[in-house]
Each structure stands twice: as structure tokens, then as C-alpha cells.
């Protein structure tokens, strides 16, 4: 689901319309064209909603986030573009059919730990790298 961490009560049903989501987006950015820029959006992966809480002890879920938005020329500062992205953009201009624009994707990721039972009821605590988006950017 894409609501805030304390999501609405009717969790199983997706939000009736996009209003809840959009409000989240507008609240984070004032002007409309910035809204289009590449940035981090909220996405919560719920182990509970997957019905896995009988074997996953912790966490119930985690805020994974995702990246979305335009990486269009000119690549302004708020797109958190890599220096190389300008080269990608240039080649895209030259060969738009085959070479993509810079992509809005995670540039920094965090790890999470998961505590769970295996089939023999042993308990495993494992660290998984690159699970949570910390920052998005064009590259």
C-alpha cells in the first residue's frame, strides 16, 4: 500500500480513489512541475497483509519506498542527477529510439533485518542489504 506508516483502517481495500495518494504527493511539493521530477515515494511492504506473521517474527512490514518522476532535460538540481546523466541525455537526444533517458531510480539504499522461524522452528535473524530506498536520482 502507499499510505503513511499508520495506514487507513480499511487496509485490505486499496484507497477508493487516488485522492489519498495525491494528497501525499502534493503535501510534499509545492509547485506542480516539481511534482513531476524524479523523487522518492512512499510504499509499505506488509508481511502481515501477505499472511506471513506466523513465521516472520519481526518486522510486521517495512517502508520500502520507490522512485518515480521525470528525468527530462535540463536535469535540474532537484532531480539529484549524477554527472554522467547529462551524457545519457545527450545520447538519448541523438538516438531516442534505442537509448533511454536517464532513469529515476534509487541512488542510496539501506538494509533491514528480518527475524523469522524456519521449518524446524529454529529462529533466524538475517540482515538484507539494499532493501529500503534512502534517495532517488536520475542516472
Amino acid at each position: 500500500s502507499t499510505g503513511g506508516k499508520q495506514r487507513s483502517q480499511n487496509r485490505s481495500k486499496p484507497p477508493k480513489n487516488q485522492e489519498a495518494l495525491r494528497v501525499t504527493n502534493v503535501a510534499e511539493n509545492s509547485s506542480s512541475d516539481q511534482r513531476q521530477a524524479c523523487k522518492k515515494h512512499e510504499l509499505y511492504v506488509s508481511f502481515r497483509d501477505l499472511g506471513w506473521q506466523d513465521w516472520i517474527i519481526a518486522p510486521e512490514g517495512y517502508a520500502a519506498y520507490y522512485c518515480e518522476g521525470e528525468c527530462a532535460f535540463p536535469l535540474n538540481s532537484y532531480m539529484n542527477a549524477t554527472n554522467h546523466a547529462i551524457v545519457q541525455t545527450l545520447v538519448h537526444f541523438i538516438n531516442p529510439d534505442t537509448v533511454p533517458k536517464p532513469c529515476c531510480a534509487p541512488t542510496q539504499l539501506n538494509a533491514i533485518s528480518v527475524l523469522y522461524f524456519d521449518d524446524s522452528s529454529n529462529v533466524i535473524l538475517k540482515k538484507y542489504r539494499n532493501m529500503v530506498v534512502r534517495a532517488c536520482g536520475c542516472h
Binding site: 502507499t2 486499496p14 484507497p15 480513489n17 487516488q18 495518494l21 495525491r22 504527493n25 511534482r35 513531476q36 515515494h41 511492504v45 501477505l50 506471513w52 506466523d54 513465521w55 517474527i57 519481526a58 518486522p59 518515480e68 518522476g69 542510496q108 539504499l109 539501506n110 538494509a111 533491514i112 533485518s113 528480518v114 527475524l115 523469522y116 522461524f117 524456519d118 521449518d119 524446524s120 522452528s121 529454529n122 529462529v123 533466524i124 535473524l125 538475517k126 540482515k127 538484507y128 542489504r129 539494499n130 532493501m131 529500503v132 534512502r134
Partner: protein, 260 residues
């Protein structure tokens, strides 16, 4: 609906096949071939409580470290006598270096008694065959809880020894190798921690040699004591005081997710 909404999130619902594939993908990210189905539901057993304590220590520091992936622990060790088996300062050091921690349920427990001379001991067995590949044991502990015992052994001192069983023999003592020992007052209470790192590594490499552990209790003048009478909680004791084993692991190779 305002069609100016650019990032309308839900375009369509996942088909059931896609949903199953997505769940299988999440499981493979977790390094699991299928969804585990634990047979015993004991989230309040001693081992899960201990592991939850380690998990909370990791979660406190998640996202710390230069590359955002590392962990560091200002974790203050607390030795608790009533509550769950809290991790010690040593455990947090082990945790810092570990990629994975695993606790093992005690599969079998026999209280045995031999006569002439009288010798009590208790045997434990742990299955270390289910460890994910490419992980090496960096530290391992055997943990057992000693309850407070009244009168019977007042002012006595116990020496508690833990052995690795090397070879079993019918009708007589097994061949043993002493791993660790503790000397404490009979009236003391709390978690006792024995280092079994070398043995665990040996069991992981040679599963056939895993014949379990043996524990014995005696007074300082050598009189063998029944572990139960000495207050050592066994498999049938309170859930949050049952003995278990915990091992800390370091990945010995880069994990590449299997192609599906």
C-alpha cells in the same frame, strides 16, 4: 477524477499468478526456497525472545554506518534473572560482525544416571544441518537457565561442565571433550552461557560427528548432582527458560539469487 493526476498509483490489480510470483520473488530475496511452516508456535520461547532482543539491537542502529548498511552497537548488556534471556555485551560484539544469527531448538534431552560411581548428566542435541550455504560460524553459545533452589544445597558451590560427545558406547559412558565450565553458588539464578564455537564449526563441517552435548553438575568435593535438583531448567520447564543454542555467522561468499 482530475486527469492531471500524473502518479496515479494503482493502474490495475495483480493477477493471482503475478501475486504468487511476487511472493516467490520476495521469498527468494530472503534466501528462502519456500514459505517456512514452523511446527511449534513458540514466539515466547526463550530462543525467539533472545533473538528478538538481538533484532531490536540491530533495528536501533539500522541505517547507521558510512554506507548506510553497517551496524554499530552502544548496546548496554543487561543480565536478567527473571525476564527473557537478554543478550550480553559479548553477544553485541558477535552481532556487529555477523551477517546472520541463528538459534536452534533442543531436539532431545535425556537425564541419565550411571551407578558405581554415581554419575548424573544431561544430554542435548541440536540440528545444524539447516544452515544456509556459504555461512561460517564466527561464534556459538549454549544457553541454559539455572533456577533458584531452596535449602537443599545451602552454601554449596556447584561446578557445571559442558562436554562435546565424541563417541557413544552402549551401557557405559560416552567419550567426551570438555568445552567449558562454570563455578557458582547453588543459590544463584539466571542464564548460564557456555562457549561452543569450535564444536559448532566442527558440526557444520562434519554433520555426522554431531552427537550432541553433555552437561554435568557436581559439588566442589566431586559429588555428582542431578541437574534437575541443581535447578537447571530442561525442555519441559517454563517456555522462556528452556535451553537453546545460538550461533553467529559470517557469509563466506557473495549470495547470488538463484535464477528462477
Amino acid at each position: 477524477l482530475d486527469n492531471e493526476v500524473h502518479s496515479s498509483f494503482i493502474h490495475r490489480r495483480l493477477r493471482s499468478q503475478e501475486r504468487r510470483e511476487m511472493q516467490r520473488e520476495i521469498l527468494s530475496i530472503l534466501g528462502l526456497p519456500h514459505r517456512p511452516r514452523p511446527h511449534l508456535q513458540g514466539k515466547h520461547n526463550s530462543a525467539p525472545m533472545f533473538m528478538l532482543d538481538l533484532y531490536n539491537a540491530m533495528a536501533v542502529e539500522e541505517g547507521g554506518g558510512p554506507d548506510g548498511q553497517g551496524f554499530s552497537y552502544p548496546y548496554k548488556a543487561v543480565f536478567s534473572t527473571q525476564g527473557p534471556p537478554l543478550a550480553s555485551l559479548q553477544d553485541s560484539r558477535f552481532l556487529t560482525d555477523a551477517d546472520m544469527v541463528m538459534s536452534f531448538v533442543n531436539l532431545v534431552e535425556h537425564d541419565k544416571e550411571f551407578f558405581h560411581p554415581r554419575y548424573h548428566h544431561r544430554e542435548f542435541r541440536f540440528d545444524l544441518s539447516k544452515i544456509p550455504e556459504g555461512e561460517a560460524v564466527t561464534a556459538a553459545e549454549f544457553r541454559i537457565y539455572k533456577d533458584y533452589i531452596r535449602e537443599r544445597f545451602d552454601n554449596q558451590t556447584f561446578r557445571i561442565r559442558v562436554y562435546q560427545v565424541l563417541q557413544e558406547h552402549l551401557g557405559r559412558d560416552s567419550d567426551l571433550f570438555l568445552l567449558d565450565s562454570r563455578t557458582l553458588w547453588a543459590s544463584e539464578e539466571g542464564w548460564l552461557v557456555f562457549d561452543i564455537t569450535a564444536t559448532s564449526n566442527h558440526w557444520v563441517v562434519n554433520p555426522r560427528h554431531n552427537l550432541g552435548l553433555q552437561l554435568s553438575v557436581e559439588t566442589l568435593d566431586g559429588q555428582s548432582i542431578n541437574p534437575k535438583l541443581a535447578g537447571l531448567v530442561g525442555r519441559h520447564g517454563p517456555q522462556n527458560k528452556q535451553p537453546f543454542m545460538v550461533a553467529f555467522f559470517k557469509a563466506t561468499e557473495v549470495h547470488l539469487r538463484s535464477i528462477r
